[in-house]
Symmetry: C2
Subunit: 242 residues, 2 copies
Amino acid sequence: MAQETGAARRTPLNRERVLRAAVDLADRVGIEALSMRGLAQDLGVVPMALYKHVANKEQLLDGMVDVLVGEIDPPADGPDWKSAVRRRVLSARRALLGHPWASRVIETRTSPTPGVLAYLDSVIGMFRAGGLSADLTHHAMHALGSRIWGFTQELFPAPPATAADTSDTSEQAAALAALAAHYPHIAEIAAGRPHDGDSVVGAGCDDAFEFEFALDLLLDGVERLHQRGWTSVDRPQEERTW
Amino acid sequence: MAQETGAARRTPLNRERVLRAAVDLADRVGIEALSMRGLAQDLGVVPMALYKHVANKEQLLDGMVDVLVGEIDPPADGPDWKSAVRRRVLSARRALLGHPWASRVIETRTSPTPGVLAYLDSVIGMFRAGGLSADLTHHAMHALGSRIWGFTQELFPAPPATAADTSDTSEQAAALAALAAHYPHIAEIAAGRPHDGDSVVGAGCDDAFEFEFALDLLLDGVERLHQRGWTSVDRPQEERTW
DNA sequence: AGCAAGAGGTGTACGGCGTACACCTTCAGG
DNA sequence: CCTGAAGGTGTACGCCGTACACCTCTTGCT
């Protein structure tokens, strides 16, 4: 208690606290509004203080990714590689889903962080343990791409979004009609799904469904190739389809 | 010629020239180094002059995307929807491949540009013309995701990249050994492909192969679902795999 | 007890960015 | 000849990341 001279002493910063505060701030204000200055203010500290804990902003972003990736469940062995991988990827999805910026940040890292490498390594290991060849596993990983992280890669965040998030259905119908004039096929598809409304303004798609649909399409395809003993030299005969 | 008072009059800027110069500049210096000021300098003009032709930087980026998307070949009807879509997507790939920033810019657009909508609409139309239901087409589009643009979405741009682009194979072997200590499965796969070397430092993968592998996996999967008359209500029985 | 060292926090400053706003020039059409 | 609009300019503001010199505690050794 002799330590507590004057005002209560602030517990000192550390890398962990900085990273967690950064994740928090990005969740609140969006990744493009995340600044070293803003983060410092959140932590009640002067901007330059952060540089005692992270080398620069890029490394801060690296660290933020590792925080999220660290929350993915460890692999649990299932009956078969396919459902084991599936479960793991869905766990990644759970870990990253609340952080819409994660996808973009991961994709802009110029070199992978240790946590990222560890996760990728373990997923590869799951394929290999299931008996897939290194060759096929390699291509399967590429085919999954950023879907390994549980992202549905949106073509664009929202449809035109003509009128703001009005729940007036007649306005929505009007907007759809305008869209249909120029882009009839898009309109047809946008109209098809009945607008499940849990996400932001009228994305109109069940994100979880779309994700699992695509994931299963890929995993099933890989499984079929595996069963037929595929190797990359099989390729040429398919290549000349066009 | 009476016009040419004093120094040669500069032909006035227009939106088109601004956008093309921006694409050029981004190709040369990278998207993150593209600035309104630098672009203005390239065009021999003061920064604020650009704002007579584009509303702001976001709209500049929108326009740049539309320039590239406008270079995708129009649809050509083939024997079947699958090879028609395949050819179209590979055309998109050709159009965007020389602009490594395109993928990131497209993904950060907050609302789609007309050119983007037109392309998407036409691809949807190709599926529909092939007899696929609106339902299945919708999910197929989501499953393709940004692969519609011809991108292989890299998990990360390059492996750890320990020593710079040395062509010293013994150093590479050493780096690989170090990697293998912590991430044995990644090392195995990185070692597998014999390093085709046409791309930047040792990505070690044939990008075109990976892309077409994934594309065919998805298209074949969709075709199979189509043939068996799939609808989204088929789903629940699969959903409980885990 | 005295002190050196280092970890952590501060303050100032620089160069770059996007862009608001007021201004000037040029020129086509009435 | 005049007007008005289109296109280009110059200045200025507030934000950003971060280099660098400095201060202030805490800790451990003598």
